[in-house]
Amino acid sequence: MYGGDEVSAIVIDLGSHTCKAGYAGEDAPKAVFPSVVGAMDQMEIDDPESTENNSGSGVDSKNNVRNLDSDKKKGKCKLYVGTQALGYRRDHMEILSPLKDGIVLDWDIVDSIWDHAFRECLLIETKEHPMLLAEPSSNTQQQRERTAELMFEKYKVPALFLAKNAVLTSFASGRATSLVVDSGGGSTTVAPVHDGYVLQKAVATSPIGGELLTDCLLKSLESKGLTIKPRYSFKRKEIRSGEFQTVDLDFPNTTESYKLYCQRIIASDIKECVCRAPDTPYDEKSYSNIPMTPYELPDGQTIEIGADRFKVPDVLFNPSLVQTIPGMESFADIAPSVRGLPQMVIESINKCDVDIRRELFSSILVNLLAVQSSMQQLKERLEKDLLEESPQTARVKVLASGNATERRFSVWIGGSILASLGSFQQMWFSKTEYEEHGASYIQRKCP
């Protein structure tokens, strides 16, 4: 048992798109930054031109990370973490993500992200704060033990807890039983939660998330001859009042991944501004005459977006649409196995015990951050599609939190409240327990 509730715990939700970190008990996370990092070979760093501009946010993984992986190649990289460090273009800097489908692939990058959250954003001594981490439902035993090792050995935390994303979202909406439909940056997950347990066998996932939709929009615009210039690639100045001139800049050493990272930021904003979920399945014919919506790009160029406004969000319901977008051919390999949202929901519920299906149908909690601005329409569309496809006896009820902050940070908020409860202090996996029983004890403490 960890008895110190006088120091507040730290809550971290490392999603595939953004990392949310902050103090337990607060309403929203203090730090929100991208879950990707910029990586540069140590060799390039020696290049005098780029050393000048190294900002303080860079984390030298070679010195700071106790390399559990002993991955020699990665050990020679300098990693840049945080919105500011990533906003600065550097020659040869590659953008890397530590996660795939929510699961950690690269621990050095995760470590650098945690480190950034603790030292640069929250400015805390990790050995003084219990740590609650949100984890994906599909996290393996190995991943969880690895997390415990890193937290106790490297960060010397006094106590740790791993809470499942879906459970936190469900609890924060007042339900111990629900079907949590979470469409985030990198993927969409449908997870049934029953009495606070995730029913692992019935969890459904698909790689369709906000990022894929952003890419669809980006490629579709490119196929129409519209290029989105990354912010670093031009300078814009006012030559006379109200009159601007754009001068293109050339940086031949910029990596493709960094260019894409910058284009995605813009494309994602276009998506949030103009995209709307259609009421009925999208088809090319009926949307061909849809009025165009203008959008002004950062370089001053105004583009017009028509059918894509509706086509892109519809991908969530009908993934095969992706294949009709030029430049998205790579998706074809996985396309046959990917289901649309309503099918995922029904498949997941059908894998659960018959006794609880009815209850799951009546509390479907959606958190569709893939297109945040069109959440309400997406919710209504899902409800409509499910009514058509679910058994007659089921009372289908799709719910979404009305408050945008609560939606965006539902997992983090759930963790924040839980970790701040006086009664929860006895639930932590403490350092003493770790030393006594080892990392595998996490399975007992945080089932």
Binding site: E406, L418, M427
Partner: protein
């Protein structure tokens, strides 16, 4: 133990009153609330009170747990009763309260031995008499 359970304690009085409802049928219903990090009895309903009296006892913007002893007559004209557990978590209540009640429910329900059916309600329609009847039969 469920993942991310709150560790909330349960006051002995809850179990005692529940036993009285179950064995002696001294009450029609019991409302419970969480106060000072434990679950305590909030309100007791007399055996003569109706389902409407029961639903009217819930606060509109606060969470509660409740048990209700539901009497009904089967198609074979047989008098029966079932004990319902209801988790009331209105949409209008604060997130903190929803989180506390949802994360404490599993543990609390286990303390009450003899619950036959369970409902979770976020608005009155989800615990209407029709739904209770439908579930009981």
């Amino acid at each position: 133990m469920a993942n991310a359970a709150s560790g909330m304690a349960v006051h002995d009085d809850c179990k005692l009153r529940f036993m009285e409802l179950k064995a002696k049928r001294s009450y029609r219903f019991i409302l419970f609330k969480i106060e000072k990090q434990q679950v305590v009895v909030d309100k007791l309903g007399l055996p003569t009170e109706s389902y409407d009296d029961f639903t009217a006892s819930f606060p509109v913007d606060e969470c509660r747990y409740a048990v209700y002893d539901f009497d009904y007559i089967t198609d074979e004209n047989c008098q029966k009763s079932k004990i319902f557990f209801i988790a009331w978590s209105p949409d209008t209540s604060k997130v903190r309260m929803k989180m506390v009640y949802a994360s404490s429910k599993d543990r609390f329900k286990r303390e009450l031995d003899g619950i036959q059916l369970e409902l979770q309600a976020t608005d009155p329609s989800e615990m209407s008499l029709d739904i209770v009847k439908e579930r009981a039969f």
